[in-house]
Amino acid sequence: MRRLLSDTLVVTERNLIRLPRAPELLLAFTFQPIMFVLLFRYVFGGAIRVPGISYAEFLLPGIVVQNIAFGGFVTALGLNEDMQKGLIDRFRSLPMSRAAVLAGRTSADLFTNAVAMAILVLTGLVIGFSFQTDVVHVVIGVVLALLFGYAFSWVFAFLGLLVKTPEAANSVGFIAVFPLTFISSAFVPGQTLPTPLRQFADVNPFTIVVNELRWLWTGQPSPDQLWQAFAWVAFILLVFAPLAVQRYRRTAGT
């Protein structure tokens, strides 16, 4: 157990050191979110009417959740690259904790997600977002978002190990997660969607997490599903972490 922690720390550190040296990734989690906020706020913002709240305030929690769910992309690409480059073999030949490779990878996401979220919120504050609740609610919101992102890192870990190339990881991840984020209440109020989509959106974990984050940060009434939001996080983790670990063992060819 001590070995798991110290090895995880080493692998996390490795993943963080290399990040600034891969400029395309750095851009992906710094400028891209800012661009998204600005685009949505000023391109769609004028057209989308949300009762009782400004669009900036409506948008920010949605975009935070979308962005953080995609944060795990770095994990899919990173693991895939490690597999191609033989680094996974190197790790597997070392007397290190087996779980540390995946745990270190996803933990690194936790850190980059936190940075990306801070950038997003700061941008949000500039364009008219403001927290309407107390510190406790805001912090619970931050924790919820980070955990949700962490859970998705495991989804991406699984995808990254599943496919053969980083490009495939990219498109599979995009196809799997992008619709989920859009057919939800992240960018438009759920009621405006056509019925079949709305039915989907209503049970979509994104909708639930976004609604709760909105409630936690802006006080917008929500269907009181905070426990459901955390339950989704737990569910995704419980399903995908073992899947990823199993897949990790298998890719080894054993």
Binding site: R3, S6, D7, V10, V11, E13, R14, I17, R18, R21, A22, K85, G86, L87, D89, R90, F91, R92, S93, L94, P95, M96, A252, G253, T254
Partner: protein, 334 residues
């Protein structure tokens, strides 16, 4: 220990690995779907020696290395490496082996020093100790100047050296090198050979795979030739060369018309069928000593004029072609 591995392997398939050897494999088999990558491989590498695993593309070299380094589970068979069993003691075994795989496994976005420090820490060293060991290795492999550059700026040869350095971080008693010098320029190859020889002189046991016969010739105490997943010959480089018929005596005649007379004269000392073409007579001789003198005397007595006469040792290339050729024939028989 020579030849006949195919037939003997079947009878010893369930034999236990030799505990005295640093690496000992018994009856190792592994298939990938339809492809039988390894079939009943037996192998022993004595402590402090180098085994050269020689074989063409797809022979199963990498598969064997991956099994012996715990990266891949064998379908059947057992092995003992550095005193630890496969299957069974993989976790402990990883502390005692170093692996430089066929393709350099280093992180492109880390510097050389960061790579080695990471590996050291994953072996359980503190950050300080790992970094000190990393510097020591960078020095040994002539990478000091590049220590603080990301590996993506390294040349292929530098990467290979860094990869080998990573395999040595924990000073493992048993080292696996999968085609360590593929892609290196001649100078780097020689340097790497020196490094390997130094390690062996300090007691390290090395299993190295290669497609270069000169590499096996120079480094390996024992050579195992592997083809289509089977060890088809084993021995020292000299023993293997002897197995393709010992020395070859080549006689260039003054007058090609005298070929028949020459063959008749040399017949008593031939160890196999002589071949002649264009005034060049080739015979196999059992013993090197005195062969030239005897040949000259016999030819002189028969009044055969000689331009040039020479003994040529078979190269490992001869061995390799002869052996892999045989293997294909042997397989067709029941």
């Amino acid at each position: 220990m020579d030849g006949g591995t195919n037939s003997s392997a079947v009878s010893v398939a369930h034999a236990a690995p030799n505990p005295e050897a640093a690496i000992s494999a018994r009856g190792i088999s592994r298939s990938f779907g339809e492809v039988r990558a390894l079939a009943n491989v037996d192998l022993d590498v004595a402590r402090g020696t180098v085994l050269g695993l020689l074989g063409p593309n797809g022979a199963g070299k990498t598969t064997l290395v991956r099994i012996l380094t715990t990266l891949l589970r064998p379908d059947s068979g057992t092995a003992q490496v550095a005193g630890l069993r496969i299957p069974g003691q993989e976790a402990k075994l990883r502390e005692r082996i170093g692996l430089a795989g066929q393709f350099a496994a280093v992180d492109e976005n880390l510097t050389g020093l960061e790579n080695l420090t990471m590996v050291g820490r994953l072996y359980g060293s503190s950050r300080g100790a790992a970094s000190a060991r990393g510097r020591e290795l960078l020095e040994q492999f002539g990478l000091v100047d590049a220590a603080r550059r990301p590996v993506k700026t390294y040349s292929g040869g530098m990467r290979r050296r860094l990869d080998l350095a990573a395999a040595l971080v924990a000073k493992p008693p048993v080292l696996f090198l999968d085609e360590p010098t593929t892609g290196l320029d001649p100078r780097s190859r020689l340097d790497l050979w020196d490094v390997i020889e130094t390690l062996v002189s300090e007691g390290t046991t090395v299993l190295l795979t290669t497609q270069y016969l000169d590499e096996a010739d120079r480094l390996a105490d024992q050579i195992a030739v592997i083809d289509r997943g089977q060890v088809i010959a084993e021995g020292t480089s000299d023993e293997l060369k002897d197995r393709v018929g010992g020395e070859r005596l080549e006689v260039h005649l003054e007058d090609p018309a005298q070929a028949e007379a020459a063959v008749r004269a040399l017949a008593p000392m031939c160890s196999d069928e002589p071949t002649c073409s264009d005034g060049l007579v080739r015979i196999g001789v059992a013993h090197r000593t005195g062969a030239i003198i005897e040949a000259v005397r016999r030819l002189d007595e028969a009044d055969v004029g000689v331009d040039d006469i020479a003994l040529r040792r078979p190269t490992l290339d001869d061995v390799f072609l002869a052996l892999t050729g045989h293997a294909a024939e042997a397989e067709a028989q029941p």
